[in-house]
Symmetry: C2
Subunit: 516 residues, 2 copies
């Protein structure tokens, strides 16, 4: 498929400005040939207006028709075949195997939302008839702006979880492509538009614009924009959040801003399995060149032989991992800068570093610091995006709990422990419960299952709203609100709320959950 | 019970500043004798710190024990007997009958949350075991600050819906009493503290502070405060929202800021029932001196004989309603000021006004304006808090839809129509659905049933977060977030997530809703 470099206002290709950006292959630093025209203010306005117009039709589309649309998107994305994998590889430096896996995850996620719509109970129908006749269900908010993410060109970008959940909810989507992979975005955007056309969705249900922060700002500020999904840095995520709150009508922003995903290595576990844990964690720290929001960036244990053996083994294992190309030049240079800053902090010992530079390779790096130094220096709690992790050695379990208490909000927290140790760690678990969205026992935080129980969202600064998740089927809840109908005639009620429950969904009726 | 005028840091009476406020009886303008000491910065700090400490224990209290606590609160509030009704009457000017009704609603709401906890399914347990073992349920956020509301000294104040839902969620509460009814607050606060002690709840699970906006600001800014419940004016509600978003760690603010609750009178209905509708609406407009957040402040119809008859009848009916004392002098004078401002706008015809002043009486007032003038002047969409309503006469149904489209977010929207008319109004309903949290057919918006299906919260500026409600059992969702446990041993999982479902709650397991 020829890449055109245009924006899409609904199905209409648009190119109203001559400003353009180009993708750069991070493996060799060369620009890819295509020009991607940056959306100007008019195109932003037109895209959101068209989304608002499409919403007037799309909000009435049935669950089963939305499901057909989503399934068609999944099929069209797969139909792009190797061209998509190749383009995404050129724009992200990610290997084909990883991209194929991510594509599989992405289409499965889309299909999961299609299944959710067909099942139908997600609308949270509640009916009370004892005082007055009140019937409530969820409705879409309106046009949603989605920001493509650098680190997941498929799963958190054009047809990723934000887009899929918003479209499932009944919200049109305007995507701002990530500057690093505009070609990948265009291919996927065209697949979505093809699916929309084939399944008879209103034009404007999906639009795609190219550009940087200015385009993002304009999209968030547009009065018809009703919600925002974002995955990326703390700086960008919080600035979008603040901008949205300062609008005349504030709107919800779901920014997922990463975290350091602390891992607690407890003593007995360390004693018996230091080497195995090191090998497991070397894989998790370096997965995707350490560019996962769930990368374990902080490993906390009690000083002693076990932790020393773990440190040595992890260092050895990291040395054996081939450095991988990072997503783009900016991320690679920020990695070097943040790593340098962190390694220069008081008390930080560099356990393993490779000084070799060149390309945009992310060299695995390991450092260690005492809990005393860690607790007195907030910089050491900051994320280093890349294959870096910091071991914190604590004098004793009191100190370990102090470190736990000092933590900011996280996406995940992990305990590596024996069953007995975990049972003895109620106080630590209790502290940690307040710090994270997902708590893991004897596993690695990388690998985020797409399912109904997944919680990918934690207390600030991990995300801007810890009540929601950006992965899994409940991600749809970000883009809906309840509407109650009081004393409405049956024929004017949506099917979900009618007597007799024609859709057979689970409902809460006068206090009873029932499919009757 | 002797009113002491103190703050309560948990169960400890506190009086660290000599600054005080006094309640004023709005019926005669005289100050009530008791001094209420205003919390100073230290007391704010101590109260929230104690709440945070209590949270460490309270978060582990079982649902059935929290239910016992809530039931005890309901009992202790009732045990205050007539003294509570009398004090609230002196501080609010509200008649005893209304206050008794409000007290009944308040204790029923508390008991509803107790029932919700005993039933247990509210935790939204989700279990997936097909990819990895992930089990998720809701957990409390932490200390919640609740602002007492002037217009509901019981139902939206000390032991009102915010407090009851936060305590049910597992969050300690710090209440800032409303300056108008600090004595009522103290009586209810002591009832809550007595219930907490009797049921063995941790000290600090509830605190009560007196003061104005400075105390509120300090409470919202305290780093351990995790969420805020507020019912009141747009100005106060949005300033709390902005303050909370600008914290180092932003927190959710649920401000319910009222609305004008537009009512659409359709032609056939008007034609046949103009007089009955007028009588019904005279009651709704003047209920509680028009000081309900669901008061119908805007009535929209198509010009003609029906609307004229309705206008005349409503005017007559309003003249027959005795003016009632407003909640306080500030509210009474703001009513006069806003009413005057609105009546002086271009094209506004005063249909009925009583110029008599004196006391803090709220005289019912009726005005009328053409849709053309209404659409060109945003001031006419602003809430006049008190027994005032504005009729908008439209040339035709297109104009009526234009008015619908111009509306800001509302708590409620109402259609008075025949079944046939409503069936013919799909386009109007579709517009209105985006504007409100609750849509009513042939009823009045005042009267908010406390039940699972109630949605008392609408698009901004009605509330700061339309995804939630402040009335009904789902109000608990404001104060919780999901936490996922991955690969946890059975014995360390909360009962709600264990195999075998010992609590027998409804759960979503691998895509199936089940109590197994």
């Amino acid at each position: 498929m020829m890449i055109k470099g245009v924006n899409f206002i609904g199905s209409t290709p648009s190119h109203k400005s001559d400003n353009f950006l180009q993708a750069v292959n991070p493996e060799n630093g060369t620009s890819l040939p295509e020009k991607f025209f940056i959306a100007n203010e008019e195109e932003v306005r037109l895209a959101v207006n068209k989304a608002a117009e499409a919403f007037q039709a799309y909000k009435h589309v049935s669950g089963s028709d939305k499901a057909r649309f989503l399934d068609a998107i999944a099929d069209e994305v797969m139909a792009l075949g190797d061209e998509l994998i190749e383009r995404a590889g050129q724009e992200s430096g990610l290997p084909a195997g990883r991209l194929e896996g991510e594509r599989g995850r992405t289409v499965n996620q889309i299909k999961m939302f299609a299944d959710l719509l067909r099942e139908g109970s997600w609308v949270d129908a509640r009916i009370d008839t004892e005082q007055s006749d009140i019937r409530t269900m969820s409705y879409p908010l309106g046009p949603v702006v989605v920001f493509g993410a650098s680190n997941f060109p498929f799963a958190f970008s054009t047809a990723g979880g934000d887009t899929a959940s918003a479209l499932a909810a009944g919200c049109p989507v305007v995507v701002k492509s990530h500057e690093s992979h505009p070609g990948t975005n265009e291919l996927v955007a065209r697949a979505i538009l093809k699916a929309a056309e084939a399944t008879g969705m209103p034009d404007g249900v999906f639009s795609s614009l190219n550009g940087g922060p200015d385009v993002g700002k304009a999209l968030v500020s547009h009065p018809q924009t009703c919600a925002v999904g974002f995955t990326g840095s703390y700086g960008a995520g919080t600035s979008i959040f603040q901008l949205a709150n300062q609008r005349e009508v504030p709107i919800p922003v779901y920014s997922e801003m990463g975290s350091i995903n602390p891992v607690f290595l407890l003593e007995q576990k360390l004693k018996s399995e230091a080497e195995e844990l090191a090998s497991q964690y070397a894989g998790s720290v370096t997965l995707g060149a350490g560019q996962f929001c769930t990368k374990p960036g902080l490993i906390i244990g009690i000083e002693g032989d076990g932790l020393d053996r773990f440190t040595r083994s992890l260092s050895t294992a990291l040395q054996e991992v081939d450095p991988a190309c990072m997503l783009n030049e900016g991320i690679a240079s920020t990695y070097l800068k943040k790593r340098k800053e962190l390694l220069s902090q008081h008390g930080v010992e560099t356990v393993w570093i490779s000084d070799s530079t060149g390309g945009n390779l992310g060299h695995p790096t390991l450092a260690r610091v005492s809990s005393t130094d860690f607790l007195s220096n907030r910089t050491l709690s900051e994320e280093v995006f890349g294959p870096f992790t910091l071991i914190v050695s604590c004098k004793d379990s009191d100190e370990l709990e102090k470190v736990a208490r000092s933590l900011q909000g996280q996406l995940t927290l992990t305990f590596m422990a024996t069953d007995e140790e975990l049972a003895d760690s109620k106080s630590l678990i209790s502290i940690c419960r307040e710090k994270a969205g997902r708590v893991i026992f004897n596993g690695v935080p990388t690998g985020v299952a797409v399912c109904a129980a997944m919680q990918h969202g934690g207390p600030f600064p991990a995300t801007t709203d810890s009540k929601f998740t950006s992965v899994g089927s409940t991600a749809i809840r970000r883009f809906i609100r309840p509407i109650a109908f009081q004393s409405f005639p049956q024929t004017l009620l949506p099917e979900e709320l009618r007597d007799g429950n024609p859709l057979g969904i689970m409902r809460l009726i006068n206090g009873e959950y029932t499919r009757e």
